[in-house]
Symmetry: C2
Subunit: 147 residues, 2 copies
Amino acid sequence: MNRNAPEPRDLFAIADLAKEFGISTRAIRFYESKGLLQPERVGGTRIFRRRDRARLILILRGKRLGFSLRDISDYLSLYDAHSQTAQVELLVDKVEERLALLEAQKRDLETTIAELREIAQLAHERLAQETARPAGRNGVQAPGPAG
Amino acid sequence: MNRNAPEPRDLFAIADLAKEFGISTRAIRFYESKGLLQPERVGGTRIFRRRDRARLILILRGKRLGFSLRDISDYLSLYDAHSQTAQVELLVDKVEERLALLEAQKRDLETTIAELREIAQLAHERLAQETARPAGRNGVQAPGPAG
DNA sequence: CAATCGTTTGACGTTAACGTCAAGCCGTGG
DNA sequence: CCACGGCTTGACGTTAACGTCAAACGATTG
């Protein structure tokens, strides 16, 4: 009867998570040392549960967003202890700040892209000129104009 | 007659640029050491022209975009020597890669924001409960329900 | 029993992008 | 002349986020 239930595991070794998320075990241990993860221990060996796995996902997303581990640590505490309202509001502010930053980045990036495209365009035109009026020997057989 | 022409300067001391862009002179020297700037020298002292200033602007924008100085260096070379077409295309690719990354970041961020807002919402509701049914002594006078 | 695997802690190494001295040169003003 | 402010070049320090050993422990397996 249990054939269609995936029944997700609840216990993971450090290497399981490392492999799953494409990070090193060293990184995971590092996150723990910073208090971002609190796996249980069975005689020294770390045992991770779904809760830790979920936190790890949040950590990695935070990193993709450019948060420091310190920031992520604060952020995680929100999930834990549905903590102080004041804390929550501070964090929300912080995140909104970063959103503004990201949007500024996007504008910068669009400018940059446009400039690069222009440069590329000029370069292509130049190249076309060079091709039309070859400046020296080359081993490539270029087909002449059709007609 | 020259009253309406701002006539932009063409010579800058290192401290001028540092102040103008809100960075340290150390940073500017560092950029030079990495080949991103090539100011002239007058007996040892660096003299920057508008060209260097323009490059500095590009450098800072690159940094805002999260490029490394190494990447920015490549990027700058495009402006210099309307360089090899192949180089240009490589760079354009690189920038487009980063654009994709930024857009992924934006999605992540929007998810995060939404989650935080939800947490904040819950926290507010809780707070409202606590206020309505105070759990102990407090010095604040809460107005009773109207009617 | 010995080898092998996966794990642990600890300690040192690494990279980027500067910060922070230290020591010295140079031109000006009192 | 001497102090002073601004500039220079080293050279070492710093922070974040791990990487890279090394040495040792515990379970499994031939």
